[in-house]
Structures are given as C-alpha cells and as structure tokens.
Symmetry: C2
Subunit: 404 residues, 2 copies
Amino acid sequence: MSKIIVQKFGGTSVGSEERIAAVAKIVKEASKNNPIVVVVSAMSGETNRLINLAKSFGDNPSKREFDALISTGEKVSAALLAMALHQIDVPAKSYSASQISMKTTDSYSKARILDVDGEKIQETLDAGIIPIITGFQGITESGDVTTLGRGGSDTTAVAIAAQMHAERCDIYTDVDGIYTTDPRVVPEAKKIDVITMEEMLEMAGQGAKVIQIRAVEFANKYKVPVRVLSSFESGNGTLISLEENNMENGLVSGIAFQKDQVKFTLHGVSDTPGMAYGILGPLSDANIEVDVIVQNVSINGKTDFTFTVSKEDESYALETIKSINTSLEYDDLLVDSNIAKVSLVGVGMRTHAGIASTAFKALSDSGINIQMISTSEIKITIVIDENATEEAVSSLHKAFELDK
Amino acid sequence: MSKIIVQKFGGTSVGSEERIAAVAKIVKEASKNNPIVVVVSAMSGETNRLINLAKSFGDNPSKREFDALISTGEKVSAALLAMALHQIDVPAKSYSASQISMKTTDSYSKARILDVDGEKIQETLDAGIIPIITGFQGITESGDVTTLGRGGSDTTAVAIAAQMHAERCDIYTDVDGIYTTDPRVVPEAKKIDVITMEEMLEMAGQGAKVIQIRAVEFANKYKVPVRVLSSFESGNGTLISLEENNMENGLVSGIAFQKDQVKFTLHGVSDTPGMAYGILGPLSDANIEVDVIVQNVSINGKTDFTFTVSKEDESYALETIKSINTSLEYDDLLVDSNIAKVSLVGVGMRTHAGIASTAFKALSDSGINIQMISTSEIKITIVIDENATEEAVSSLHKAFELDK
C-alpha cells in the first residue's frame, strides 16, 4: 500500500469559492495514487477580518478569546473544501483540532503542538474518506482553543505528516517553489529543485516567506520530507530534502534578504561578565526576537554591542532597553531603522573557503558599505543600508552564478 | 444566594461591535443582582454569509459539513462578547457547544438537545466568571458538530436554564415584547405584560416570530419562566408565565397571522380508513410540516381533504403528493398559494362560548370570506384570501377590544 501524503493549502490557495474548487481537483488527483490527508488555512483575508473585529474591544484582548475567535476561519475553509470534494464525488470529512485531539501547550496565540490523535485520522482514511483538518490551531489539556501563530498551518501539516509516518508533506502556496532569491528583485533568479533542510531553515529565517520556519524545524526533527509547490499552476515545486549533502547544488544555494529591520547599538557598554545576558534577557522576556547579534573586541573594558530586531518590535525593544538603564551602563544608544539584512545560504560553505571574500568583493565593486557581518556554518549575513538592498542582492546573485 | 438568570441575545442584538458593547453593559448590570449565564446567536448576516459560501458547492451540501460551517458564527460572537465584557472589567469566558458538552441527536441541521454539562458552567460561575455560550449548536456522541435549526439559540438558552434550575430565561431581541398583534398592521396593538405558556405556544406557532416555538415547548416541559425583551431599549418585556390561568387577560390574548402559506385540496378523495395517513404520512416522511388540516363530512363515500404548508415547501409537497398518486384516488388536486392564516389565541376561550361567532361576524362585516376553519381549545384559526390579511387582523383586533 502506498504511504500517506499530507497536503497543506494556504490562505490564497483557498481564498475564494473558485480556488477551493480548484484545490478539490488537486486533492482528487493526488488521492488516486496515495492516501491523502489535507490541512487547510483560513481563506485569505478572513483572519484579518476577525482580528479587526477583535480590535473594537481594546488593543489587548484576552488571548484565550482571541484564539477562540480567529480559529473559526480554518473551520470555515475545512467544511467548504469537504463540500467541494463531495461535489466531485470524493468522500471527505472536515475535522477541527478538538475533533482530532490536536493537543498543544496553553500559550495562546503561540501554542506548540504536543500530540495528535492519529487513530481518528487513520480510521477516516480506512473508511475511504479524506480527512480535511483545520490548520493553525489546537486545544489545551482542559479543552480551550489555542492557535499556533501566523503560518502555523504549515506546522500542523508537518506534525500530522510526522504522526502518520507520511511519505511527504506537500505545502501548496501561491509560488511555484523556492528561488535562488526574490525574482521580483533579480529577474534571473531560478527555481531550486532540491534544497536541504538546513539551507531551508536559514532561508526561511531570513525572510523567504514560502514556508514557516517552525514547520521546517519540525520536519527536520521528525525527518519528514517537505515539498513546496503552487496550487495555481502545475509543477514539481521545490523538495526540501532530508539528505545532508546535496551534490546538485553549488557553494551558495540562495540569497535571502529582509528589510524592515532595526539596528540597536549600545555604544561604550562595560564589557563585564553577564553584560550580553543583561541586554538579551529582558528582550527575550518581552518576547522580542533578536536576530543578528555582533559584539566587537573591547577596548579599555568598553565595547559596542549591536543587535537587530524586526521593525514592528522597534518601540517595544527601545522601551525594554531603556527600562534596564539603571543596571546597565553605556555611553550612547544608537537606533538605525534604515537597514537591511542580506544572507548567503548554502551547505557548500562548510567545506569551501573564499565565499566570504567573493561576497565582500562583489559588494565593494558595487560601492556598498557593510555595516555588520555575522556568519554561521552555512550562512553569511551582512547588514547594509536599506536603500542598497536590491543592488546588493543582484550583485551577489551574479557573483555566485546563481542565474546559470 | 440569588438564583441564576440565563440571558440570550439574538443576531440583531449582537449585530455589530457597537451592539456587542451595548449587550456587555446589559450583562454587567444584571450580574450585580444574579449569577448570569449568557447564550449568543451569530451576528446578524453572518449565518447567511456562511450559507452563501456553501451554496457554491451545490444545492445539497453534506449536512455534517454544513453544520460545521455555520456553527462558526456563534463562536465568533461569543468570543467578541467575552472581550467586550473584559473591556468593562467583567470576567467572562466563551464556551463552544463541545466545551460544555452540549450533546444532541445526530440529525444535522435540526438536532435536538439531549444533555448539557452543568458542572462546567457552575464551576465557571463559582470562579466569579460569566460563561458566554454559543447558541444554536451541539455535538453528537461521536463529537461531530450539529446545529438546532434556525432560531435554535432560544432552545439552547432554555435548555441551559432548565439544567441550571435558573430563576428565569431572558430572551433579548429587537422587539420589546409580545403584542396583541403585529403593530405594523394594527397601530393600536398593545404590548402584553404576561402571557401563558399555552397562549405563547399558539402565538409562536402562528408566526409571532419573537421566540422559537421549540424553545417555548422546552420551557413548558421544564417549567422555566421565560421573558422576552429588547436589548435596544429598556423595559420589562413580556413574561411567559407558568401559571395556567392568567386572570389579567381577557377572552382573547392576541391575534397571530401568517402569510406565505399554500393550501392543497384533494377534491373527491375516497373516504376510506387510512386515507388521511396515506396523505400525511409521506409528507411527514419528507419532513414537510403540515399546518392546518380540514376534512369535511363525506358525501357518497367521497370527501375533500385540505391542508396547508409553508410556501417554501410548496414544490416539494406537490412532488410528494403526486408520487403517492397510484395508491391514492382523487378527482382533482387544487393548489392555492394566495392564502393567509389568522388565529385568535387565548386561554379564556376554554370557558367562554361565543368567541367564534363574534369573530365570524367581524369578518363578515368587513366582507371577508372564510375558506377554512380549524379550532383547538385555546385557538381559532381561519384561512382567508392573502390580500385580506391586514383588514381581517384589524377588524378582529377591534372586535375583541385588544386596543383597550
């Protein structure tokens, strides 16, 4: 018997009655070869409509009620997709998170999946019925509804694929795969056929918005192959491979970039033990995600500590830093919101030297000044002036021959 | 300790963010005197929006999926009302049918309530929190979502009031009580302060759309006093009393009427045993509700059998009758869709003769022809030409001095 494939359809893929009917056809076709389990997001626009309703009752609504409210969106699309499948003679049943006991932690709006009842799903499949499961949501031990945070439907799909020992998890979206970089910026950008999990993790974290990073981590942990493809056009998409070494790819697999970043520099901070934690601890407590962190060598016991956060966290981060002013000594706090992050990603970097210098030469040739550099095993991230983003991405794409 | 009051708010009462905020104030005020349990409908328009989405996938969507779809409306309004209460410092928690184990039969779209978990509601109240419960819906033994049919939120509220041994169930709507007849037709119509359950049952069944008839039956069975009042203006509404005899009222308490009726006459049908069942059985099997039924004495073994159904069931009823043609002999099938039903309702009728003759004289004086007459202990129903409805109601209202 062939193994299960989990198909996940995002908001734009189920964004209208017509789109839902098109998705039903994709599911029907796939169900001829494998048992199919479907996970759906809310119709695009629906979650925002619900969030706007909540905004009438204050800026800080109860998270329990907020999750109860916005989790209705996926229930709607799951029921509609089941109806669309019935219309083309495919047996299907919608299931909410509570109906398949998708248990999560009780951190509303950012809950983490703990467990899912695979038996109910298997029973449904055994009866020749396609289960359509609401993405993005779960229930706590005591039965309250939770949500997994934006993009959480990807995680739902991968978690179910892991639980059901699925052959693969197919993430359907409105793009036809992962590109070497954003084709709107570099028209020569090429679709990548196979990318490693690690590369994908680095790409996703850097703003390649095709699939949620948590879902990739989940897939990595449970060894679920994931494919990203389009529900709008046919094609094989990009396979996120479990193979450690991807012989097909070159040194650099792709270039990710992200604007809307803010750089904080604490100038002249005392370089004492615990200084970094003294800054990052309160930010973490405030749920602010710090991205690039750079600290230079100290001179006369003082150093500069620089980090970036997403622009939406700017005022909150500033407030947090100022509130720890008393216990933290520094000369100046510099905030720069005109920056962008550009990252080269590739498993090939591990074994090849000279990638950094090629990159820096390309940027230098284009007259782009590098403000920060941060490297990991398979990634080089640089922070530059926001206005130079497109030119930097373009020149790096060319330097590493990603268009070939 | 004072007893629980269940408050139910209908679709127009929670029809916008502003209305929900207004409802929160009503709940807060009432919670100062009694423990309050709230039941909500979907925001007005929401259920129709969801039904329209379903219509894209055929005229006859799976009832299981249909119920899963439209039950999301009440989840939205329950969460929003909880947020609105938080905003004015009232602790509240929304609960879906599954969260309070509102068990029903598995007849989707017209499920009947079997049981509800009063303990969870009581625990919430004991913690000083107001439970906001989704009306109109339940779950089956196996956890599928069901709905109770249009207006089912009233039934939810009364069922919870019965379970919690509530002092009263207050049904908030957009009218300020039950009137002697429709004030849009007879401007002199007066609000009734107290009406008996039996009278209310007859009024509701005849098209007084203020409260769902099943809810009144439920209230009658479990002896829950129900009050109907407005969430838009203050006032005491109409109390539906448990007292058998209502001394305050006169002979006739109110006049109900209903258009959109169709009259079927089987002319010259053989008057043999089982004839009536032979006609009504198949209609009942087809879930068509037959209203007024009249059969005249037979002449030469043949009689006329007449019944009315709602206009929306017209074609379905016609089809059903024609399909039993073979086993049922009659000369003619006459269908008249230009009729209306007018009913006089009052417990006083039991003990007072002469009400029928007063009614018939009033109609005769207005030149209105009576097509059918049907009577029960506390009701006289007549079927007339649809165009004469307003004049008939007006002249009867005056004849029984309901404006005094």
